[in-house]
Amino acid sequence: MSSMISADTLVKRYHDPARGDLLAVDHVSFECREGEIFGLLGPNGAGKTTTLRMLATLLKPTSGTAVLNGYDVVRESEKVRASIGYLSGDTGLYGRLTPLETLRYFARLNHFPEGRLEERVMSLVREFEIERFADVRCEKLSTGMKQKVSIARAVVHDPAILIFDEPTSGLDILVADTLLTYIERCRDLDKCVVFSTHVMSEAERLCDRIAVIYEGRILAVGSLEELRSLTGERYLEKIFRSLLESGSREIA
């Protein structure tokens, strides 16, 4: 399996007028391969979202770099974006467009071939059971319906890499399960998936490898088994707590 994402000592520093300089991401490095689901696990404010935003080219790294699908996030940001599907709590839908219009719009923005566009859109409409509300404006849809459209929007151009930033937050169990099932299917389709969460059960269910991130640093990376042997703990909650405690001691 070839490496699809290679993050190399990514650093993101902010200047906040009230708090001064803030180090949101501190020399983060990891790799993610095709057909792999890679989890970023950390508490709120650990730097997960900032890391994923740098990979999605929404933010420019202060230093370090990342290569996605062979493209550099700074120098070839457009090619990077065309290679990824990104979904987060902040990727809303255009309320005045219908799901069908949304999918067609984002397929075109992502350079999806016009000849195959309609076929692709309709297959996603069927796959995510959007038919019933495909012509209803997004502003009138329920949260669950919107999330289905959002996932379809993120994958409409059939990207090789999928980046999900806490995608199940605020969703009911059934919709969350639909999404998690879809992410599992992405692995079978040889997609490279980076998935951030602070829900242990999701990480345990989905991730082939997990990176525990805290205060902008990656404390450990490995499969669940590898993390178990590293910490001597069985359950992911315990593993997580153990890594955080040792991480806090290191930072102090």
């Binding site: 080219t57 457009e78 974006r81 902040d90 809303g92 309320g95 719009y105 923005l109």
Partner: protein, 409 residues
């Protein structure tokens, strides 16, 4: 280019589904103003008609029976009331419209002296004053004629200057002059109003609705996204101009036709329309660039409105300068932004084409638009401002311009 078109078409579709955009950019110019003008015209003529139909109530106090008193009594437009105990109070209370006191004629000259009281705060009393003037003029002429006839003379004997005036301007030209006075200011304001809502909506509104990240993570270049949004604002501003132009001309046409003035014909020549549209398109590009620039700093719709509204209000000063008497489009005023555009509109609507100042106006418009677009691009390139994160506000604009200057240097 294809992606700019994709963004533009989608933004346009979304904008046309937004009630506020439709109201501000389409309904108000196309319907509200014509209806307003039509309503005012109807009300004006209705009021005028009712006043004309009403008889003027007058109390006449005469020392001796006078020809003027007889003329008023014979005129159907008057109703002579009985002597009031306090006629002045009756005028003031609106019970009568005029009080006229006529003294006996002087024994040596035979001249009648008259004193009249009106309450000009009331419409009916003002009408009475006009009517009294007409009656006096008519009576005076008849009396002079009688006296001259008694001496075997006529009016012509004593006429030293016989003046006849003629308006050489055609009804069309008079109409153009009227439009040239009124339309430029309205067009500048309405075009800006047409740009305001879409600019705030596609930039600040996008951050508020959390769709900014959705589009920024797409494979479209950021400049294409900005260009698509900018084109939408230009289109909205230009549409507001065109619709206002149509709406206002139709409204004025209707208003003047109701007033029944055949000496005024409301119409703009085809060449003037083309010139207004061409300059209007460039002006729409300028206003849209400024609105997009300011709205880029806002994180919410409300914040966006508070950023672009001062610009809209500031535009009033240079626009008002253009409607001041004596100010014309010349080689000096052509350099004043916004004033020059309003003056250009005025000149071309009036049918004048001073090509030098017009060229300077269009040139400055192009240069300032290019400058503002360049800054807007810098602002959109700023990560924090693009996403609406961080603490940057409109006050950061000078530092962004300084940084971009350094970079280009």
């Amino acid at each position: 280019m294809r992606l700019i078109g994709t963004v533009f078409r989608t933004e346009l579709r979304a904008a046309l589904r937004d009630r506020n955009t439709v109201v501000y950019s389409l309904v108000i110019p196309l319907a509200l103003y014509p209806i307003l003008f039509w309503g005012i015209g109807e009300w004006f003529s209705f009021q005028q008609g009712s006043l004309e139909k009403q008889k003027s109530r007058v109390v006449i106090e005469e020392e001796a029976r006078s020809p003027l008193g007889e003329a008023i009594a014979a005129d159907e437009r008057w109703r002579v009331s009985e002597r009031e105990t306090d006629a002045l109070a009756a005028v003031s209370a609106g019970e009568i419209d005029a009080f006229v006191r006529i003294e006996a004629p002087s024994s040596d000259t035979g001249t009648w002296s008259l004193h009249a009281w009106f309450d000009e705060a009331r419409d009916r009393s003002r009408v009475a004053k006009t009517r009294l003037g007409e009656v006096i003029e008519e009576t005076d002429r008849a009396l002079v004629e009688d006296r001259l006839l008694a001496y075997g003379e006529t009016n012509e004997t004593f006429a030293i200057i016989n003046m006849e005036t003629e308006n050489i301007a055609s009804a069309k030209e008079v109409g153009q002059t009227i439009l040239a006075r009124v339309l430029p200011m309205l067009l500048v304001f309405m075009l800006s109003m047409g740009a305001m809502h879409p600019a705030v909506d596609v930039l600040a509104g996008e951050k508020e609705r959390k769709t900014i990240e959705t589009i920024l993570v797409s494979g479209a270049p950021r400049e294409a996204i900005l260009a698509g949004k900018y084109l939408l604002v230009v289109t909205a501003a230009f549409a507001a101009l065109v619709l206002n132009l149509i709406g206002m001309v139709l409204a004025f046409k209707h208003m003047f036709s109701m007033m029944g003035d055949a000496k005024i014909q409301i119409a703009i020549p085809f060449t003037s329309v083309i010139a207004v549209l061409f300059a209007g398109l460039l002006f729409a590009a300028f206003v849209a660039a400024v609105m997009v620039l300011f709205a880029s700093f806002a994180r919410t719709f409300k914040e966006g409105q508070s950023y672009v509204t001062p610009f809209y209000l500031l535009m009033m000063f240079p626009t008002l300068l253009a409607v001041m008497p004596g100010v014309e489009l010349d080689l000096r005023t052509a350099w004043i932004p916004i004033t020059n555009v309003a003056l250009l509109f005025r000149e071309v609507i009036a049918g004048n084409f001073p090509w030098g100042p017009i060229a300077i106006t269009l040139g400055t418009l192009l240069l300032t638009t290019a400058f503002v677009i360049a800054i807007a691009r810098r602002v959109y390139a700023d990560e924090e401002l693009r996403l609406g994160s961080g603490g940057k506000t409109l006050r950061s604009l000078p530092s962004i311009i300084r940084r971009s200057r350094k970079r280009s240097a």
